[in-house]
């Protein structure tokens, strides 16, 4: 194995560590939301610093490889993809932190039952599952799995699109739910972004493995 191959192997391991951390942040944010566990939410906010540290380290490590090894072909594509995946993972970390902050800021525990119609919990589960499958696609260099993410992101988009009317119905039924409704809507918006970020990551995985650029391509499905 060449030195460059070793460096790339290390980068891949680093990306996966970051990925696990971001997934764990999302899962904790979900649990914190479900049980109004503000301590857990505070942990998510604190751990966001670790996600940021990962981002900076990966940027620096990629920069060093560019400068020292002048990577080409599949190595170059891998590093370009990692730079973007790194950025997307950091944003998902921000999303988990944002959701955790809502939990900390909310004055009272809100009633999930009132918002069942919005499919909030399903959306949370789906976004975590999509993120995990995107990681698997990266780890196993599986472009079929990466392509499957595009379809699954559409489910999140649909839930998001329907959310306004459903939240409005909840408010109409009980005006006291206005505050909670705004939080729910904001969380739904954030989870929809997790789908988008995962889709961007899937595009990068395909770019790295197949050298195909799918960005801004309407026919990727």
């Amino acid at each position: 194995m060449t030195q460059l191959e070793n460096e790339i192997k290390d980068i891949k391991a680093e990306v996966l560590s970051m990925w696990y951390l971001v997934e764990s942040q999302m899962k904790k944010a979900r649990t914190a939301m479900l049980h109004f566990d503000r301590d857990l939410a505070r942990e998510v906010v604190l751990k966001e610093r670790r996600v940021n540290a990962f981002e900076l380290k990966l940027d620096r490590d990629c920069e060093n490889i560019f400068a020292l090894y002048c990577p080409v072909a599949v190595d170059l594509r891998f590093l370009l993809a990692v730079l973007k995946i790194n950025n997307n993972l950091e944003r998902i970390g921000d999303i988990a932190e944002g959701i955790a902050k809502y939990i900390i800021e909310s004055l009272s525990d809100f009633d999930h039952a009132s918002f069942m119609e919005t499919e909030l919990i399903r959306m949370f589960d789906d976004s975590i599952s999509i993120l995990a499958d995107t990681r698997l696609a990266f780890e196993k260099e599986d472009t079929i799995l990466a392509r499957s993410i595009f379809k699954r992101d559409e489910v999140l988009d649909r839930i998001n699109a329907n959310a306004i009317s459903k939240v409005t119905e909840c408010i109409k039924s009980d005006m006291n739910l206005i505050n909670d409704a705004l939080y729910v809507l904001s969380i739904i918006r954030k989870l929809e972004r997790v789908g988008d970020q995962s889709k961007n990551i899937a595009e990068e995985i395909i770019f790295y493995i197949e050298a195909k650029v799918l960005k801004h391509n309407e026919d990727i499905n």
């Binding site: 060449t2 460059l4 191959e5 002048c70 990577p71 080409v72 072909a73 599949v74 190595d75 170059l76 594509r77 050298a211």
Partner: protein, 252 residues
């Protein structure tokens, strides 16, 4: 559309029984820089030397197939005429040590017995040295020996000597491998200028150099032309696994 200036058709080269270049078919477009790369012994230099019929100068060396220069088979042309049209610059700068800078530039004319009036020679010397970005550095010392120049300047003098004959194609065999990074950079910059007037074919072991200076890259392996494509394509997404393994350093 770019016109083809050099085309090889089923070109094969041998050293005795040793088959070193195998059925190479390649189209080289005019005013392009072509990098030829591959591991040692892959036949890239032999192929380069075949283009201006220098290969056959080696005892026991033979060649089959065609090398076309503007559709004319160089095998059918007089070798001296071929080398006037297709100049060559070698790995180590090799100015004639006993000749002045001026005489080095017009050495091709002298060696071919072409007599020119002094004014014409002056014009060729200035023009050639300007083309290789050396004129300003040496215009006041044209009578000095070429060997007094630095390595990078000597290599540019050799390029000027080739350019003076107004060739159509310039062949370079690892032209910067004996130069320091600054001189290498100057010569590489020169390639960008030279391609406006000539077609350049460069054999190089330096992959970054191939990526920096060339429009197209050819990868040779064990005498075969494995892949020939736009340089950007070759260095981002080569089609053949052997090319990918070579450029990423995974070649065994």
């Amino acid at each position: 559309m770019e016109s083809t200036i050099v085309k090889s058709v089923n070109y094969n080269a041998y050293f005795g029984d040793n088959h070193v270049v195998k059925d190479v078919n390649i189209d080289i477009p005019r005013n392009n820089v072509i990098a030829v790369m591959g591991p040692s012994g892959c036949g890239k230099t032999t192929f380069l030397r075949g283009i201006n019929r220098m290969h056959e100068l080696i005892p026991g060396a033979t060649a089959k197939g065609k090398i076309l220069l503007n559709t004319e088979d160089v095998m059918e042309m007089h070798p001296i005429f071929v080398r006037l049209k297709i100049g060559m610059v070698f790995q180590r700068p090799n100015p004639f040590p006993n000749l002045s800078i001026y005489d080095n530039v017009i050495a091709g004319y002298k060696l071919n017995g072409i007599k020119l009036p002094k004014a014409e020679k002056d014009k060729i010397v200035e023009h050639s040295l300007t083309r290789v970005a050396l004129w300003k550095e040496v215009k006041d010392s044209l009578t000095k020996k070429g060997s007094f120049l630095s390595g990078g300047q000597q290599q540019r003098l050799c390029i000027a000597r080739a350019v003076a004959m107004e060739p159509e194609v310039l062949l370079f065999d690892e032209p910067t491998s004996a130069l320091d990074p600054i001189s290498t950079s100057t010569v590489e910059e020169l390639f960008h200028e030279l391609k406006k007037n000539y077609t350049l074919i460069i054999v190089t072991h330096n992959m970054q150099q191939a990526a920096r200076v060339s429009d197209k890259t050819a990868f040779f392996y064990m005498g075969e032309l494995v892949e020939y494509d736009d340089t950007k394509q070759m260095f981002t997404n080569p089609k053949d696994t052997r090319t990918q393994n070579y450029i990423t350093g995974r070649f065994s």
